[in-house]
């Protein structure tokens, strides 16, 4: 999600040196930028793109998990999953609302998603084949999202930072409910444990891809770091995630599908960390460019939801207008 929002971002901007320097001084002084403040066009464009894609990721992210609501194994799991999917919808709405303060309309963002012009996180283009996937998504996908989102709580753009604070508070529930699902399976029958392992095998690499391309291949990261939209690079966050996750997998008795994974005591300035194998970037770019397993279905489902809801939006507006007219007429009659 998140760092992928910067892929293809146009950070170019045409203001005078003096204006840009004054803006950078505000950023360096850790002053938050608020919607009506003057800002470079590149800063605005980058944020609209990133927040918009982040919002789309939350909304599209409801689909793979929604797939299992009716088939959750117990009432408790079903209630928790329903609440989690509702949260994702809420997160999308906080973020759309933050993006709208920059002058982009909700309709415009929706149209861009449906036309395939705006991206969302590559991770949601993978299918949820088993119940274990619901656990794995909460544990790893939400875990990776938290890694990305915690530094975004300090993003220089006020509305985005505030939205992220709300999101992070709620995201912790998502990760814990996911881990608990995987834990239950891992401690269950051999078949259940095998299901958890098979799910981890499928999701591990796509989750590492969520952090976006390597720093050396990421063109717009530098400017975003200078503007304090981003606080850590893709590779830094990916490393933190791997280091945090491996002990969690070990506790479950599951193994990540990486023969090159190895503890390296030299890493992280001598604190130690894991070396891990090469990521298949061809797969990543294939999915980002629309050739993932679920890309077509996801957009088709979003479009269908939008089209099917059209009569509701029209009826609500017509009703609101009728009420407003009636109230105006009553007021006139009273005078």
């Amino acid at each position: 999600m998140y760092s992928q929002g910067l892929i293809g971002a146009d950070t170019s901007t045409e203001e005078s040196e003096e204006f840009l320097r004054a803006f950078q001084e505000r950023i360096d002084a850790e002053q938050k930028i608020e919607p009506n403040d003057v800002m470079p066009a590149g800063y605005r464009k980058t944020l609209i793109r990133q927040i918009g894609q982040h919002a789309h990721s939350e909304i599209v992210g409801m689909l793979p998990e929604g797939n299992w609501i009716t088939r959750a194994p117990t009432l408790k799991r079903k209630a928790a999953l329903l609440a989690k999917v509702q949260d994702e919808g809420g997160h999308g709405l906080y973020l759309y609302s933050a993006a709208e303060t920059l002058g982009v309309s909700r309709e415009q963002m929706t149209e861009e998603l449906h036309a395939g012009k705006a991206k969302y996180s590559s991770i949601f283009n993978y299918p949820t084949l088993t119940w274990a996937d619901i656990g794995t998504i909460g544990w790893l996908v939400d875990g990776a999202a938290i890694m990305n989102q915690i530094p975004l709580c300090r993003c220089s753009f006020g509305p985005y930072a505030r939205a992220m604070i709300r999101v992070c508070k709620e995201e912790s529930f998502h990760q814990r409910q996911g881990y608990e699902i995987v834990m239950t399976l891992a401690k269950g029958s051999p078949e259940q444990k095998a299901m958890a392992q098979e799910s981890l095998d499928r999701w591990w690499w796509p989750v590492l891809m969520m952090f976006g391309p390597h720093d050396s291949d990421s063109q717009h990261g530098d400017q975003s770091m200078r503007w304090k939209i981003k606080r850590f690079s893709n590779d830094e966050l990916r490393q933190k995630f791997v280091d945090a996750t491996i002990p969690q997998a070990e506790y479950l008795g599951l193994t990540v599908p990486d023969p090159d994974l190895k503890w390296n005591p030299e890493k992280n300035d001598g604190r130690g960390g894991y070396d891990f194998g090469a990521i298949d970037w061809d797969e990543f770019w294939r999915v980002v460019k629309g050739k993932g397993i679920m890309n077509r279905e996801r957009i088709r489902d979003r479009r269908k939801a939008w089209d099917d809801g059209e009569w509701v939006r029209e009826a609500a507006l017509a009703h609101a207008q009728k009420r407003a007219e009636r109230m105006a007429a009553e007021q006139q009659a009273a005078e």
Partner: protein, 98 residues
């Protein structure tokens, strides 16, 4: 906050009072056709975990805001009025806490 697009569902700003004794605080916005739906949407979006005891919704276009460009003109004059602060006045220690 453009209202120009035809059939665009209006934007409302949402304010939540976490509990009695505290004031309502801005927390974001929602799109809704009318005030009834705006309140329902605000409840669903912003109070899923007991964040509020009361919600205000206000049409975004009805909010009048100061221009950040006027910040100096509006707020700078208070900076040199240090005599408005209690620490401006020297009271001997013998007087005790005041």
């Amino acid at each position: 906050m453009s209202e120009t697009v035809k059939n665009e569902v209006p934007l409302w700003e949402v304010f939540i009072r976490p509990r009695n004794g505290l004031s309502h605080k801005h927390c974001g916005s929602v799109h809704a056709a009318d005030e009834v739906m705006a309140l329902q949407a605000a409840r669903d979006v912003y109070t899923r975990r007991g964040e509020g005891q009361s919600i205000w919704v206000v049409r975004s276009k009805d909010i009048v805001a100061s221009d950040p460009q006027d910040k100096e003109e509006l707020f700078e004059p208070t900076a040199d009025k240090i005599y408005r602060h209690p620490t401006f006045y020297e009271i001997p220690d013998e007087v005790g806490h005041m």
